[in-house]
Amino acid sequence: MGIKILTEHINVPGIETLEVYRKHGGYRSVEKALKTMSPDEVVEEVKTSGLRGRGGAGFPTGMKWSFLAKPEGIPRYLVCNADESEPGTFKDRYFMEKTPHSLIEGMITSSYALGANTSYIYIRGELMFVLRILEKAIAEAYAAGLLGKNILGSGYDLDLHVAPGGGAYICGEETALLESLEGKRGNPRNKPPFPAVKGLFASPTVVNNVESIASVPWIVNNGGAEYAKIGIGRSTGTKLFSCSGNINKPGVYEIELGVPVEEFIYSDEYCGGIWKGKQLKAVVPGGSSVPILPANLITKTAAGEDRLMSYESLSDGGFVSGSMLGSGAFIVFDEDQCIVRNTWNYARFYHHESCGQCSPCREGTGWMEKVLHRIEHGHGHQQDIDLLVSVAKQIEGNTICPLGDAAAWPVASAIRHFREEFEWHIKHPKEAILPGAVYRGQLATIEA
C-alpha cells in the first residue's frame, strides 16, 4: 500500500459531511493558506510540487496558474472541469460523490492562490446526483464560514457555484466548457487568446481538473517539496486510475506514480488480473483517445524495459510503440475482444461528439465510423485500411481543438498494432460477422 493523498479517508462513514471531514483534518489547508501564506506563496508551492494536470494533457498546474493575467479591476475566475466524459474515466465522479468537501477545500485554497472571488464547478449534466451532493456540501461550507464573505476572518471572499452541462463530451475541452458555462453551444474557441487572458465572461480564467484541484490541499499542508518526493521523475505525486474492462476488480485506484504496469494489472491490490482466467489482449491506458497497446507492449517497452504507470514510461516509444497516461482511464481487453468492433465503437463515439465546427473532424469522424462499420459488418473493401489511415492523418492536427486528434489516434493505433485483424475481417467477411467471432493471430478460430 502506497501513500494515499486523495483517498486516505474516502471510505470513512460520513466523510461527505463537514463534521466528519473536519475531524479527519479537512479544511486545514484553507486555514493555513488564508492566514499564513500569500497567494503567490501558494502558487510557488504548487509549482514546486511538479503537479501535472490530471484531466489528460498533463500540463504542469503551477505553470498554468502562473500564466493567469492579473489586470486591475477585472475579476478572475477558477473553473473546475468536472465534465468527466472520456470513455473509461470515472475517477472524478467517484471522488466527488464520496468526498465532496475534498474538492471544495481544493477550490477555496486554489481560488485564493489565483485571486478569484467567484468560482465554478462545471459538472457533466448526467451527474446531477453528484451536483446535489456538492451543493449540499457547499451549503455546509457557507454555514461554517468557509465560503462567502471574509472567510475565517481572513478578509478573503469567495462564492462557489456548481453548474451542470447538458451531455456533450466536447465540453471537457476547456474553451468549449467556458462557452457552455456562458450558456452557449459547446464550440471550442480559437486560441489565442488563451483562457488565462480571456476566459469566462472575457476575464482571466484558470480551468483545472477535479483531481488537480483536490491535490492542492495536501501540497499546501505538507509543502510542494514533499509532494515532489512522491512518484517517479517528472511524474510526481499520486494519481487516480479508473480501471475498467475485462479485469477481476474494476474500480478507482490511487497509486503512487511509478508502479509497474504488470503489477498493476495482475496484483490483487489493483486490477486483480484478467477475468475468467483469460489472457490479456490489449490495454488502452489513458482513456479512449490514447493509442491502444497490445499485451506485449503494455507491460514492456519496445526496448524490453518494464513499463511503469507514469507519464514518461507510458509514452515511451512515442506513437510507434507507446501510448499516453491521459486521464488515467485504464481499459483492459481480454482475448475474446474484437479490436475492429471496439475501434468502430470509439469512432462512432467521436463522430457523435464532434461539435461540427471544423470540417476535418466533422467529416472525417463520419468517414471513419462509416468505413469501420462496413469492415465490422462484413462489407469492407481491400483499400479501406489505407483509407482509414489517410483520413486519420488528415484530421490529426488540423482542427481547433484536440477532439480531432483524440478521434484519429485510436483508429491509427489500432491499425498500427492489429492490422492483421482488420485484414482478416475484410478477407473473411462471412466468418467475421458471426456472433463472438474473434481473430486470434495466425490460428484464426471462430467461436459462435
Binding site: F90, L127, A163, G166, Y169, F201, Q337
Partner: protein, 188 residues
Amino acid sequence: MPETTDDNYKMAETINEVKFSDAGMAEIQRYISHYPEGRQKSAILPIMHVAQAEFGGWLSPQVMDKIAEILNIQPIEVYEVATFYTMFNLKPVGKHVLEVCRTGPCCLRGADQVIDMLKEKLNIEEGETTADGMFTLKPVECLASCGTGPMLQVREKFYENIDSEEKLDQFLETMRNTEVETPYHQAN
C-alpha cells in the same frame, strides 16, 4: 407517438400554458443568481434541466419559448442550445427514458447484449417508445460508470452492473412501479 416536427408542434399546441411550479421557479432563480449581472443566459442549461423534469421529460417549443422569456433572450438562442446537447429531448418521450451506455468500456462487459435484450423485451427500436408510453429506449455515450458496466441511467439515477437477464428483468419491474419525482422538491 408523434414522428415529425409538425406532429410535435400539433401536440405541443394542446399545452395551454407553460407554468413552472413554485419550487421549479425558485430553482431557476437560484441558478440565475449564480452569474454576474447581465450574464443571466449562463443559467440556460440548468433551467432546461428543470424544465425537462417539470414538463414530461422533453422540451416542447412552447417550453423553450418560455425559457427565452424568463432569460430575456431570443427563442432561437434557446433552440440552438437545446439542439446541441444530447440530454435534451425535443420529442415527447415515455414515462421512463432508459439511457443505456453503449460506449467501449461498457461493451467489453456486455452493453450490446443489454441493448438487444431491451429491444426484444420492450418490442421497440432505439429511439422509440413502448405502446403503453412506459419506456423510451435511448442508447447514449459514456456515462462515467465504466467500472460498473453495463449500466443505464433513468433521470438522475444510475442503475449499474446490469450484467444478467435476471437483473435486467428486475430493473424493468422496479421501473414499472416507480413514479416520477422532481428531485429538487426534496432538496429544497
